[in-house]
């Protein structure tokens, strides 16, 4: 039986497999049956971050709940490369944007970090995680990056895993985008500074770490959200799964 790829994509916290039943949460039932007006037998694409995408059909529907039944796997699980995106949170809309773009472009983990020149004292981790889920639903991905809670950059660097390289986006470098390919590593993290740049002692510390490669993002000053997308593009096209 050939199943057309369903248009509505939904992330669920449940195992997916042949003939598997998936109970819906109240908000999901409201969306599918209240907003999108799906009825019994209609199809939805489901993914859970590890079992690929499954076509499922509606077998029970009410405004407060419902059950979907997996019909067929529409595509296998596709995980991004082992790339972390670390960035200093900025204004709400632009932080949301960075999380959306990281999910879309294939980061495995999103880590907001507090640098010396970061204004944000806290983030809404749950809201950002929901944002990453929504971006994965929209962009057709089967993976949802984990959004970590805000951590101090100092603490992150103190416990830094020795086998992970850091691509440091350094706006004090003019021109000369250092090639990353020389590093024969699989695990990477991109680090984007806050709008005011890194503090001098942060830069000194980072540059002294053997796992750090500094790259320039061109001669113009980029906003942090632009820098995040540009850095992920350079990394994906040099070392990631774009080639």
């Amino acid at each position: 039986m050939s199943v057309k790829r369903a248009k509505i994509r939904l992330f669920v916290n449940a195992g997916l497999g042949a003939a598997q039943s998936v109970p819906l949460e109240r908000a999901q039932a409201h969306y599918l049956f209240g907003v999108m007006r799906l009825v019994l037998g209609d199809q939805v694409a489901l993914f859970n971050g590890c079992d690929g995408e499954w076509t499922a059909s509606v077998t029970e529907a009410s405004k407060r709940g419902g059950v979907l039944s997996c019909v067929e796997q529409a595509c296998p699980q596709q995980n991004p490369p082992d790339l972390w995106l670390m960035f200093a949170p900025i204004k709400k809309a632009r932080t949301d944007f960075i999380v959306e773009k990281a999910a879309e472009m294939g980061a495995a983990r999103i880590m907001p970090v507090q640098t010396k020149y970061t204004n944000a004292e806290r983030i809404r981790q749950d809201r950002l995680q929901a944002h990453a889920v929504e971006a994965a639903e929209q962009c057709g991905g089967t993976f949802v990056p984990d959004v970590a809670d805000l951590q101090k950059l100092d603490a992150v660097l103190r416990d830094w895993p020795q086998d992970r390289q850091i691509m440091l986006c350094d706006e004090t470098l003019a021109g000369a985008c250092q090639t990353l390919k020389a590093q024969d590593a699989k695990k990477w993290a991109i680090l984007i500074g806050p709008e005011g740049g890194f503090a001098p002692d942060e830069l000194t510390r980072l540059r002294a770490m053997p796992c750090v490669s500094s790259v320039s993002l061109g001669p113009r000053i980029l906003r942090a959200d632009t820098a995040a997308v540009a850095a992920m593009t350079l990394w994906q096209s040099e070392l990631g799964d774009w080639n």
Copy 2:
């Protein structure tokens, strides 16, 4: 005399040069004196898109007008490479975003194009141009890309200048980011399709044009705004002024 780089940056429609006086428009005077509370003698950075950045000081100030006087050139004019960004307009916030990013990342001209699958029938060219000015003010650039009015893609391709290459972001290409360096050309345009992709006959026509190079932006589906930033990054790092 050494002049510190002023913090407020303003685009003006006036010539800039040593001892040049620059009359302010009403909205600019309101911003400088009403909102930012500048007083006589305070300094502002001015640029006009062709004379570099000038430090100017306030010599007349009222809420309805005022005059600035150029003191010293703070940096020379810096133009981006000869790159056009063509894209199919999408929802307002994301179209604004594309214009902002094009100004920030160094495009010389922004061209909204109407493809077969583009919903937008019109754009507010004046609003988008103002948005490009604002992005240049924010990102420290001295150049403001020209925003063209919405044109049909068919018409744009019919009159296409023979000496300008097109980098076509083709989401039907999986993997294999074709290298652009083989083209020994200085003039380029990036073409980003609408969210639904190009129509089959548009793709056929584009691929048959000798000036077109198709590139892939990786294995995931990117939103049009992400694709615009990613494409400009690839182009700038391969052929532009990032190296």
